[in-house]
Amino acid sequence: MQPERRGAPGGRATSAPLMGREAEPTLFELSSPGRVAANFRSTGVPEWTAEELVPASHLRAEPAPVAEVSERDLVAHMTRLSSRQFSVDLGAYPLGSCTMKYNPKLCDDAVARAGLANVHPAAPPSLTQGWMALLADLETALCRITGMAAATLQPPAGAAGELTGLLLMRAFHGAAGEDAKRRRVLIPDSAHGTNPASVTLGGYEVTQVPSDDRGCVDLDALAARLDDDVAGIMLTNPNTLGLFEEDIVAIAGAVHDVGGLLYYDGANLNAILGVVRPGDMGFDIVHMNLHKTFAVPHGGGGPGAGPVAVTERLAPYLPGPRPVRTGEAYEWVEPERSIGRVHSWHGNALALARAWSYILANGGDGLRQVSDAAVLNANWLRNRLHGTYDIPYDRPCMHEFVASATNLKRARGLRALDVAKRLLEEGFHAPTVYFPLVVDEALMIEPTETESPQTLEALADALLRIAEGDGEDAHHAPRTSPVGRVDEARAARQLIPTWDAR
């Protein structure tokens, strides 16, 4: 490909990136005693005093100190903070595993309706039929995408979905009287940290399965760890190296043979939409990160949504209540052997609705294009970096790949961290670094499908340029951002978690 040179849309933002080389004062420093932004509607309600309303023993002596700023000061403050923040809307964000794709604006508007936003979660079903229909429609689509029978939309994030799935596993084995016997859950050594943490909170023991030299589950090692005390296995497919587990059918057979269940970590579901379904691979439980695959904006780290879909035999254990159509109307139904609630209400409803608007806009055909382009982009970029960066598992990848700076570190002291910080200077966000743990000096790169070939070209150029650079010089990067490298050790050693702790 020789794309026409015409700048680099959506990528190289060095000329207009982040502003503000001086620290922005905190809201507390901007405070001026007596200044007020708030105002309240007139109600005509009698103006009893606090002392008349609340017994003295319960009252606070002094008002809780918040801040005292004008609305104008508040607006300036938040706007200045926003100018110190990189985002997908500003430029490419190839953060591996996190799927920082462009989030279509139509989805923002689709959910910004009073008829959705102003619905009370405890209102009776007669007043919430639209919401229940929306959630049920989303559930149906998610089941079709994953090849599952039923789903819960309650889990508010991927990790919450994992724990929900493990509790489903427990309930399933418990019903067979095998809860005490099945104590172990298998996890590949390349797994996300949330997997082992969720296993522990689910009351299970982690058994790690090593990867083979192709970066996939080692079948012999798996067989050696399988016994009738295994509750199940958690797999990400494609895995965290961006590689498809080609032996998935054999893995599923082996785990099912000992009575275990297969849990699909949907972190990488965006690679296989319309190509292959977890249900067809043999998985029993699937969580989906709607904020990754279905473009719910990441919001600086949430809110996300982590629905869990299951096969028919696990459906009776799903969290409840679930919206179910009975005749003409929807009702909240508690599955007969439900593990119980996993959310205060019905999950991150507006995030769920947003994902549904994205699915509707793309359609079945568009979702397949999403995966096609995500995989194409990742492979194209991998191919461009090949030879300059180490690619430890050097074969076609899915939606992301893991490069390594080991050779650059050896040659001129350029570590993965330096590459990341240099890339910030180039106007891109950095890849995920030092993960997965099975690769030294890892650079996990996920361009996503929404970056154009021109942006990819610019990103590749930047990464190749950085690789030629000097390690000593790179230690000083980034030099164009609002702050330079921050002292993380000091933050931990002299902990200042609030303004008042200074």
Binding site: T26, L81, F86, D89, R485, P497, W499
Partner: protein
Amino acid sequence: MHFVPHTDAEITAMLADLGLSSVDELFAAVPAALRLAGGLDIEPGLAEADVAGRFDDYAARNRPVGRDLVCFAGAGAYDHDIPSVVGRLAFRSEFVTSYTPYQPEVAQGVLQALFEYQTLVTRLYGTDVANASLYDGASALVEGVNLAVAATGRQEVWLSRGVHPQWRAVVATMAVGTGHRLVDIGLDDGLTAFPTGGSPGAVVVQNPNYLGCLEDVGAAGELARRLGALLVVVADPVSAGLLASPGSLGADVVVGEGQPFGAPLSLGGPYLGLFSCRKEHVRRLPGRLVGETVDTEGRRAYVTTLRTREQDIRREKASSNVCTNQTLMAVCFLVHLGWLGTTGLRELALRCARGTRYCREALLAVDGVEPVAAAPTLREFAVRTPIAAEVVVDRMAEEGFLAGVALGGEYGGGLLVAVTEKRARAEIDAYAAAFEKVVR
């Protein structure tokens, strides 16, 4: 409507660079027998305007609260005014479309906002340290209980029935995995009646409790201390504008639902879980924590800190599996509370309390309506009704009111009514009149 920018010619050229001739070849690693034949069983993509039309249809089938359905329902989800600044500032795309601040040099905006948010949570609750938020009130309570159990090494948890029943349900779901022993502590005339002896690891009380009553947090704190437990308090952040802080009354961990500041009702999510504690427990704090530090030039900077607590480093030894939080909702919280300010927060709490008292007196004047408890309330109260509360809610909806939330059997039935600063005297008068009509 598709969002992939590539032209057909570009796709062909990129494939050629890889020595491939078709997109299908990219998926060679997927066994042929597993491939989905015929594509996804999902309708073709819709144009932007058609998606909007579908959402109009869904919205039209709901009855949102507003002038046609005046809201008196609360139970952990409150109908507050949200000032314009929240939508205009928190929903700037820099906040909406960024991710967890892994690269602090280009994430000072989110990091500083979270630092300020953490400060506000500790100021409301009278605690030393707050995390960058959790998923919702229930998840914050689960994590609070887990912290107390880990800190004391005792798995018995005394859970007041005054705690939101759905949050208790989530705690019970998670206890299957952790093995905590939950002890249900009943109410006596609306207030938690704790036993005087035992060896719990956590004592959990909500204030104001689910029935709206003001609990004696100080006494619960003394009890917890005497028994060697930690006191976990579930506290409403709006009530914090008037009430003595849980931290000042002996709470070790204070959690809550942050929805009242900046989050619309939205069928219950996304909201945010508030989590804070005393500083001696900071190394057991779940989720993200932002701290202040400096950059290489000595400039003030912020970064996520004490990362060694977290799941990606501790893996199976982690005490929490939380990876993300609800940052965007925390930014909404910050903007809303920042706009209210010190005097506005107090005024908000006061206005809620005034409306609640006025409404309570009006309802108790209705024949056959009785208080569930005599204890003082603040922003919410419970009444027994002459007919089933579920029927009251249905009939009141026809009169244009969301009357409240029906109480479950464990409370002996009844209706939970919340009044916020939005309710005018005329609305409350009309509500009481309709109430009298429907319960007759």
